[in-house]
Symmetry: C2
Subunit: 263 residues, 2 copies
């Protein structure tokens, strides 16, 4: 079983030291957790005034800040964290990183950008990485990426046991008693692909923007097994190998049943 924890932080643009401290604290407290997931843009905050502000808050993969995160990892925890990245090409990306105490396992630049992100970031040009880690085969993607079923399918076809998804969901209207629509979409992606989905949203209000705080851990059968409590933490133990057999019933197989001649 893989022990999974999401910490639904509340980063603020302009509060870099505090954002950094919260990330470090979350990492330091993760002893015994196999997979810790933090939100999108956890280091920078989200609501930038303009592209220059986003750039001013971007980190390189080789920055001291990132090195501190890696050094803070206790034991064998694998960590996913979203951040504003300044690439070696001097371009600014909305990125997420998967790392453990040995260093960076994968870096991903979000390819589907939401709203004003299009003004602040350049989209990546590589698909979501799917990497073998000590806790299973993990796909890393960010927020709006999840809403493209072609993209989640692609990660599943490349063998992902779980989709690890740092997010920042602006609050949208929904009927009373319903989960956030993004969670429904994630549940469907889990079910049709038999993959777990680990969604770490953010909370709080930032420059007037309210957030959904919709953090959810979803099993490979599509059901939500944990949501963030009042302390902003969601925890669950999942067998990440449970979805590897794509047979569903004696005559059906989620991937082999696809009619790729028709789409």
């Amino acid at each position: 079983m893989t022990r999974i924890r999401c910490r639904q932080l509340a980063p603020q643009v302009g509060e870099s030291a505090a954002n950094h401290e919260e990330i470090l604290r979350s990492i330091r407290e993760s002893r015994g957790v196999d997979l810790l997931v933090l939100p999108e843009l956890a280091s920078s905050g989200y609501v930038f005034r303009d592209a220059a502000e986003a750039r001013s808050l971007a980190l390189t993969q080789t920055s001291d800040t990132v090195a501190e995160w890696v050094e803070a990892v206790p034991g064998d925890t694998v960590v996913a964290c979203g951040y504003a990245e300044l690439g070696e090409d001097d371009i600014v990306y909305n990125s997420a990183m998967l790392f453990n105490r040995n260093g960076i396992l994968a870096n991903y630049r979000k390819v589907h950008l939401w709203d004003q992100e299009k003004n602040a970031f350049t989209p990546g040009d590589s698909p979501a990485p799917v990497v073998d880690t000590p806790v299973g085969r993990l796909a890393l993607m960010v927020c709006y990426d999840l809403e493209f079923p072609e993209y989640t399918r692609s990660a599943a076809l490349r063998g992902a046991d779980a989709l690890v998804v740092p997010t920042n969901w602006p609050l949208v209207e929904r009927p009373a008693g319903e989960r956030p629509p993004e969670v429904l979409i994630a549940q469907a992606a889990a079910r049709v692909n038999k993959v777990a989905v680990v969604l770490c949203d953010r909370t709080g209000t930032e420059r007037g923007q309210q957030w959904t705080a919709g953090t959810s851990i979803i099993g490979s059968d599509g059901w939500v097994v944990a949501e963030a409590g009042p302390d902003g933490t969601a925890e669950a133990s999942l067998d990440l190998t449970a979805g590897r057999d794509k047979n569903i019933g004696p005559l059906n197989h989620l991937f082999d049943d696809r009619r790729t001649d028709l789409y």
Copy 2:
């Protein structure tokens, strides 16, 4: 607004006359309804002993039975109904038909077959039709088809306002208080494509098989607006044009945001 009605029938293999009578009654009572949807295999029942039994219950598109359905349509109702089809090629298909009083508007042969259907039917080799009708541009697919997000996307890309889906969902376990998983998948398909989804399931028990009775009408925002009541009928009025504008927010477009270079 389009007035939609689903009638969640309980057909039984071996009770063809009664099944036919229920279909006819549903059609005759549909005056004032713009779109009437009936279940998958409504004429034959579902739980066949073998392929020979399925063949014995199959109808041609030119059969007297189908002619009676067409003749029974009152006013301007468009009807979707699932049936076992004997093709002009002497092959047996799990089909659905869209018709009004003027005749057949579209015929569809299910391409993704579930479980023992693989022994009773040959899969179709054409994608879900998307056809202009007096009530809007409708895509027609059947049950398990819906669980392939490539397939629902394809219908949306071809301009469907609504996915019309006769189904027979064998009852599967789900956590208390949750909708059937197939409905979650349909909600996600609706939301990521901005299309309405009209699901007409069946009810009852047939040769020991329990059914989900999960009939649901879903708006192009992904929310369920109607489920079948105790009388097996679900009704809703939807603006089927509401999903035609695929912009979501000032900088995002559901289709244009796809990264088709990556999948």
